[in-house]
Structures are given as structure tokens and as C-alpha cells.
Amino acid sequence: MHIAEGYLPWEHAAAWGVASAPFVVHGARALTREVRDRPENTLLLGASGAFSFVLSALKIPSVTGSCSHPTGTGLGAILFRPPIMAVLGTITLLFQALLLAHGGLTTLGANAFSMAIVGPWAGYGAYRLARSLLDRRGGTMPLDVAVFLGAFVADLSTYCVTSVQLALAFPDPDSGFPGALAKFGGIFSLTQIPLAISEGLLTVLVVRLLRQSSRGDLIRLGVVTDARVAREEEKTK
């Protein structure tokens, strides 16, 4: 759930916009280069953006008794690296801000910073870290685990950033920033935990299906790096 239209003071809204802009511009360049240099990836690229489109449209009930939605940015960050998701995530946010009155134009910078920038980078970092720790073991399970962690972290970190952004703008009258962070964290981050697990599982599912249907793509993208991992997969069939 993104910060609603007009719900950030304009100084904050402008600052987050300035912070996000370079990432989105850099991402747009990366996206253009990817489409021009590797047209064979375009279909998968479109599907990664579409995955984010689907997941951020699904409002799912959570253990806190409220609803929120996943972000779907982990998959694209893992497959195409985070800069490209800065653009695809921002497009999703723009669609929701313009047509659904969900999120907003004035809060687009702040929402892009959380969902399209920090989320993908944190998720990609978690994925790379998990891969480097688990890769030695080989087999398919480690890849699933790394993908799960990547998507889980991308989803959850997005809403942690949202909580920080709101706590900075609206500190608690008594306890200041920490009190407000606990409050907004309780609303966004706690709600998000089961959803982040769901997003992790769905992302694992997509990568598993991709390994069956288009292993060539995954090898080209460096997700399945060595033939050994692919061969391990043959055995488990």
C-alpha cells in the first residue's frame, strides 16, 4: 500500500522526487540498452514488468486484520538487475496513481523510492548474498531459496521504507521519530510479512516454471550459471 496522494508535506514529496529521479533516468537508459542489445530478452522483460503489475493489483488480507498488496519487483530485479525495475516499478505506480487513485502523483517520488529502488536493490542484494553462500552446495534447492529470499526482502523492505518515510514526515508528538516509526511499522511492515512470504513463493514458482520452459533464457541472464545446476535439475524430474 503506497502513500496516498497529498499525504506527504510538499518539501518531503519534492525531496523524495529528487532522490528517485536519477535512479529512474539511469534505469530508463539501462532498459533502452537491454531492449536494443538483447531483443531476445524482451518477452521475458515484459513479463517481469507484468508480474509486478499483477502482484501490486492484488490486495491480500493479512494477520494484522488489514489488507495490503505485494510489489512483484523481486523477480525483475533478480532476472534483469535492479536499475530496470526502477523504471518498470515506477510505471506500475504511475498507472495506479492515474487510474486508481492509489498512491499519487505528489507521492510518486517517495513511492518509487521504496518500491522501485530500495525494494529491488535490497532484494537483489539478498539474492546475491544467498547465492554466494548456497552455490557451493549445487542442486536446485539453493536457487529456490535464494530467489525466495530475494523476493521476500524486496517486498518487505519496500514497506519498511514507506514506514520510515511517513515517520520522518509525521513524527509522534510525544515520542518523535522512533514512536512514529513503531506506529507506521506496525501498520505497514507487520501486515506485509505474510504477503512477503506469498510473494517469495510466487516468485519461486515463476522461476521454477521458467527453468522448465526457457532454461536458455536463464542461462543467458546468468541466473542458472553453470550446466551443473541445470543437470541437477534433470535428476529431480
Binding site: A4, G6, W10, A50, V54, S214, R220
Partner: protein, 122 residues
Amino acid sequence: MKRSTKINLLIVLAVVLLAALPVVLGMGDHKDEPFAGADTQAETAITENDPDYEPWFSPLYEPPSGEIESGLFALQAALGAGVVGYMFGVKRTRRRLAPEAADTPDEPVGAAAGAPAAGPGR
């Protein structure tokens, strides 16, 4: 059933359970409005922390009713799911029509066999 298919079905089942259990177990019962959006709750919290705050901009377009809004959300999900499904359909078909060589996991062969198959699909 193949082992990988079983795992995939279990993943789907887990996701369904994660979404359904909070509702089935009545985890929203303690709230005035169960399962409202987290963003609506955040707006309330903002007003608590800063009672004088007035949103200084309102959405250019707002769906006139909840029905239309949920319809637009469904449209967003349908568009996304359509593209994802199309991609899997294309990949699956290409793999089926590609020569057997595409199945060998060795990198150069897999990549080379994938490339020519990309031609007729476009």
C-alpha cells in the same frame, strides 16, 4: 505426477492458505472495519500524529465507486496475467518445436538452440 509439479502445486496451496487463513481465523474481528487497506490506516495514523495536516493535493481522477475501482484493479491484474501467460505459452511452444538439442543443459548448445527458435515466433 512429476516431483517438480507436486512442489509447484504445494507452493500455490501455501499462497492460498496464507491469504485465506487470516480471514477464516477472524483476525480482522477486533477492528471497526476488518481488512481495510493499510494505506487507509496510515491516513488515520497521520491525522493522529499531526491533527492539523491537510492533504494538499487530491487525485486527478478518482474511480466514482468501489465497484469501478475494483474493476480497474481487476483490469490491472488481468493485463499483467495475460502478458505473463502469453510469455509462458510462447516459451513452452518454442521449446516443444525446437530440436532435441535445446534440451541439453550445456550452455553453448542451449543458447545456440534457443536463438534460431526465436525467429519465427516474432
